[in-house]
């Protein structure tokens, strides 16, 4: 019998789940060390991207000469609960996945989904026009389309041959 190979939707590396685990770990270490030292462990900058108990959605991003596309899997979320904000070099997607009636209450429960609030700050490869951004939510997938700032649009420079 061959089972369908389980492949996580997340690749290896600095994945959101390990960030969450690391955040929990840091919290636990801080709690331990506070008994020995007067101040908590020094904080690495990327530790601050997630608080204990939060989760991070996964992201795909692509770019062409004029646009940047970002696609985030956010199943089961009310679009009203998603906040998309853009600065020149950063896209921040925040929101909350609310626990459904099915996943709470009496009885036996096996739970794999993560619920609660999330904040994902995504550095953008080039500066964009914050006034020209569209966001669309369809079938559990959020797609954000950003227009690059005219100044940062890459320009093709023709190579000329020296005149004889």
């Amino acid at each position: 019998m061959s089972l369908i190979p389980f492949r996580t939707k997340r690749p290896t590396g600095m994945e959101p789940t390990s960030l969450a685990t690391l955040a929990d770990f840091r919290h636990e270490m801080n709690r331990m060390f506070e008994g020995f030292f007067s101040r908590p462990l020094p904080t690495l900058p990327w530790f601050d991207t997630i608080e204990p108990g939060q989760w991070l959605p996964t992201v795909d991003m692509s770019e062409n000469d004029r646009q940047i596309h970002v696609r985030v899997e956010l199943p089961g979320i009310d679009p009203q609960d998603v906040d998309v904000s853009v600065s020149e070099d950063r896209l921040v997607i925040a929101g909350e996945k609310k626990s459904t009636a099915e996943s709470s209450g009496e009885g036996w429960t096996h739970r794999e989904s993560r619920y609660g609030s999330f904040t994902r700050a995504i550095p953008l490869p080039e500066s964009v026009d914050p006034a020209n951004v569209t966001a669309r939510y369809d079938k559990g997938v959020l797609t954000v389309e950003l227009q690059k700032s005219p100044a940062s649009t890459s320009r093709r420079i023709p190579v000329t041959t020296a005149a004889k």
């Binding site: 979320i77 429960t109 989904s113």
Partner: protein, 129 residues
């Protein structure tokens, strides 16, 4: 107790159609047993309701969701997830009413409700004084 499984007759992952990403994923699920029914909610972002098959055969509930490819234009900068069909099977056992199973898909979440046969539902027995 519901166990997640692949049926024995599932010998291999389904070959994907040409031009599609060949990978099939197991969706993240929540399973709740409330006595009168078992509810399975599966995250299937990108799946259209008419592309989802839910079958119940010999105590095994199988969910298969077809996910159309959605390539992003341009060159990839970040790729954290793959896009492909979802498939997962659950061994529920006996005592369920297959004719009353319902399934709905909203915002990329599939909810399947599998009610127990009335004869096997938990009952509270009134004690007379």
């Amino acid at each position: 107790m519901v166990t997640t499984t692949s049926p024995a007759r599932d010998t291999a992952p389904q070959p994907a159609a040409a031009g599609r990403e060949a990978q099939t994923y197991q969706p993240t699920v929540d399973i709740c047993d409330r006595g009168a029914e078992v509810t399975i909610t599966a995250d299937v972002p990108g799946a259209r309701p008419d592309g989802i098959d839910v079958t119940f055969d010999d105590g095994v509930l199988t969910v298969h969701a077809t996910v159309p490819a959605r390539p992003l234009p341009g060159r990839a900068v970040i790729r954290e997830y793959g896009v492909g069909d979802y498939r997962r099977a659950f061994r529920l056992g006996t005592g369920f009413d297959a004719s009353q199973i319902t399934a709905e898909c909203r915002a990329g979440v599939l909810t399947v409700r599998v009610p127990r046969l009335a004869a096997v539902r938990p009952r509270t027995i009134e004690v007379r004084g």
